[in-house]
């Protein structure tokens, strides 16, 4: 081995070590963000919480609009001179206002929430730097094995969440569940899935890797956010059902559920997220097929990975259908979405670990 090569190898080694350091650091900061979110939930007062019951039990009011959207004035004339747009929920949904968020509408809780988001942003930047350092260390796309998938996956999920926040979407309620799973994901990555940085086998070495795997990871991260929202929708929906039928939820359930957006909003959020990413998932599968055509001489061979991508795809198609089918909207459609996401997860962990497939990578 000549000198230049060994020098390069050494830089790569130190970059790889740096990447590991950064990933560990991001875990530390995510942990702090996790505790800040806990503080947000704990210190957010419950005084403003508990309005849903009032909404659902007050029967005197007529079918008046739930939300008013005031049109931006653009300056000159007085507010009342302009038309106001009134919106109401669609057919078959309850007109219930969204909860105030994890902070419960209090200043103290909100402060912790803001701290949590700042820490999440910091951890995201560190983790992203870790992923990028890894890419430079191995001198290829950092998606050659499960360790690398997992770190990129959580980076992208957090990035998507921060993107929603940046777009002023009301998603801070996602913070705590997201931090929990990001820590789980990273924990598994560094303990079980860790592989030393190395090159790809030639079969994986193609520009389709960049296209196919990056979109796959992105789809997974966004589907994940959709799945969390779907799960919360199911909880919140049964909570609202309980209240509407005169039930008395426990104080803990009340405190948690009251802060979440209404079931209708959660349902809408998860639908939009899942629907928006579905075409990209379709593209991901097609890109994979084209790649397989180049690498293995057939674009579709019913390999385990291909089968489970297909199952996931059909699952989400079924979900979109269910939402357009009478009697399948709402909870049933939500269950389908969760099953589809479970298929995605199985494809990721299950197929890589338990099933022998052409798609087995260098080290795990």
């Amino acid at each position: 081995m000549n000198l230049a090569v060994s020098l390069a190898a050494e830089t790569n080694e130190s970059l790889a070590r740096m990447s590991d350091m950064l990933i560990y650091s991001s875990m530390a900061v995510y942990t702090l963000a996790f505790f800040a979110h806990i503080a947000e939930w704990v210190f957010g007062s419950r005084s403003k919480v508990g309005r849903t019951a009032a909404e659902l039990t007050a029967t005197a009011r007529a079918a008046a609009p739930a939300v008013t959207v005031r049109v931006n004035q653009g300056g000159s004339t007085a507010v009342l001179d302009k038309p106001k747009v009134v919106t109401r929920s669609g057919a078959g949904t309850r007109d219930v206002p969204d909860g105030p968020g994890a902070a419960g509408g209090t200043v103290k809780g909100d402060l912790y929430g803001r701290i949590a988001v700042s820490l999440t942003t910091l951890a995201f930047l560190i983790e992203a730097a870790g992923v990028i350092a890894r890419a430079f260390a191995v001198q290829r796309a950092p998606w050659g094995n499960m360790y690398e998938f997992s770190t990129t996956f959580s980076t992208v999920a957090v990035g998507a969440y921060l993107g929603f926040l940046l777009a002023r979407k009301d998603v801070r309620w996602l913070g705590l569940p997201l931090m929990t799973t990001v820590l789980l994901d990273l924990g598994m990555a560094v303990t079980w899935l860790k592989t030393p940085s190395d090159q790809l086998v030639p079969a994986l070495d193609s520009y389709w890797l960049w296209i196919h795997v990056s979109t796959a990871i992105f789809c997974g991260a966004v589907f994940y956010l959709g799945a969390v929202a779907t799960l919360l929708y199911l909880f919140r929906d049964s909570y609202e059902n309980k209240l509407a039928t005169g039930g008395e939820p426990g104080s803990f359930a009340r405190s948690v559920m009251e802060r979440l957006p209404s079931a209708a909003s959660l349902d809408k959020f998860s639908y939009r997220v899942n629907a928006a990413i579905f075409p990209l998932w379709t593209f991901t599968i097609i890109a994979g097929a084209i790649w397989a055509g180049d690498a293995w001489g057939r674009y579709w061979g019913w390999d385990a990975k291909e089968v489970w991508s297909f199952i996931t795809w059909v699952g989400y198609a079924a979900y979109l259908h269910a939402r357009a089918t009478a009697g399948w909207k709402g909870r049933k459609a939500a269950y389908i979405a969760l099953i589809a996401f479970a298929c995605f997860l199985f494809n990721y962990y299950g197929v890589n670990i338990f099933v022998t497939s052409k798609h087995s990578y260098a080290g795990v």
């Binding site: 959207v69 038309p83 919106t87 219930v96 105030p100 509408g105 190395d198």
Partner: protein
Amino acid sequence: MSKSTTTTTTTTETTAETEAHDLGEAGSQLSTAPREEAAVGGPALGVVGWIRWFWRQLTSMRVALILLFLLSLGAIPGSLIPQTGADELKVQNFKRAHETLTPLYERLQLFDVYSSVWFSAIYILLFVSLIGCIVPRTGQFVGQLRGLPPGAPGRLTRLPAYTTWRTEAEPEQVRDAALAVLKGRRFRAHTVKDAVAAEKGYLREAGNLLFHIALIVMLVAFAWGQLFKSEGGKLIIEGDGFSNTLTQYDDFKSGSLYSTDDLAPFSFQLDSFTGTYEKTGPQRGTPRTFEAAVTYSEAGGADKKAVIRVNEPLKVGGSKVYLIAHGYAPVVTVKDGRGKVVFHGAVPLLPFDNNITSTGAIKVMDGYRDKNGKKEQLGFQAFFVPTFAGAGKGDMFSQFPALDFPVMALTGFHGDLRVDSGLPQNVYQLDKSKMTQFKDKHGNKLAQRMLPGETMTLPDGAGSITFEKDIKEWASFQVSQQPGNGLALAGAIAAIAGLSGSLFIQRRRVWVRAVRGEDGVTVVEMAGLGRSESAKLPEELADLALTLHAQAPTAPEPARDPAAEPAEEPAEADPAEAEGAEK
């Protein structure tokens, strides 16, 4: 940006049905999805009635949903049980290991899930349902395109987005202005009685239909490809060539409608194969590059050079040539007892581990005579490692895939190779039933570990075998011809385009009603309705309202007259609370 304000209100639960009644014609036909019908009981109309009923069930959304479920469920076993189409060897191992399960699995076609009767039944039913769904939907959609959006419902306040104001402009003036504004934004709009009705987003439906049609195109392309495909494998040693005729293949598979006349006329020669491997680090030995340099020519054409890599097949004459595997082919020379060369050539050996520890057979079929001049055949079993661990160090397995320290162990046999017995023979294995192993002078089995250039002498003047210094590499190729790929790709692109249209475009209606109120002042009401709820709908309505408002500004507030107020206007909420609620 608009600001959302939560006001405390409630509704008694409105069900989809009452809603539909309220909106009447206006809310209908915002898509071409089949109408749901209560599936209770069959018709009392005889055979034709039953067929019609069955057809309507098959093409309903509910059955489509169930079939989608079954399709994904049915795909699962194929990912867990070895499949003949993917890995024949694994299927055989499985069958050997599970003797009780095998007959059951075979009956259920679980080794060929994706071509099984039941799996085919599911997707054929699904696609029949799909066609049965698309045809009427397309007709309906064309009808909707020809028609005009339905007139405004009686009470606009019931719609998901609503706004109102009073203006001094004349009602006709407002309607004309609204018509112009809506048409300017590419709504299809017309005036019905006292209101303007407008609709936009027809591309959503078009996209949805395109998507479903593209699914059919993809299925047809896939089936076409299966029926007309061909796939053959060929192992080639450096320096050797191949021409694309059936007899030259080591193995060949083709679809049921394929004719071997369709084999594209071309030939190629493997000039050299290069493999490099990671030299250090924890993944030492992991392959880095595999490259096969070839010279090829199409029927009657000039020679061209190309490099085939793992992800880069050679495209020639409508076929693709893929690099599939590689290994070593040591060159050996066999001489008989009189010193005559009876065999000289490279013998491809099959690797069985990642470091290319390989085995194979060297068969000398003709020309050999033993020391007594008797015709015989020779066979050698070869065990080859490209990188030897060193004598006395561990076992005979290779330590590294490159040719760093090649060593070959040979043991020889003489007798009848039984190649003429008519039975198909594995070229990598010896049939030793009619062979006798050479023994050394102590009576032990003759075996020798050899370095390149070394010779093993056979006992009793039976000749010799030399492991030449020149070690060649071989590569195996798959030559595939699969028609329908272009069609499948076109279908896939159309599917994604259609899907994006279907999911990202909102189909929505807007109505603008302008009537003279009791006090003589014009009341403008605007409302919007979308197929699915979207935050964009109120935003768009607000935007439209603002534009229209510029042409029909708010009239000065009259003496408060509750009768003139449009019904159910909500109270403005306290801005402070609005701030809190937004978080």
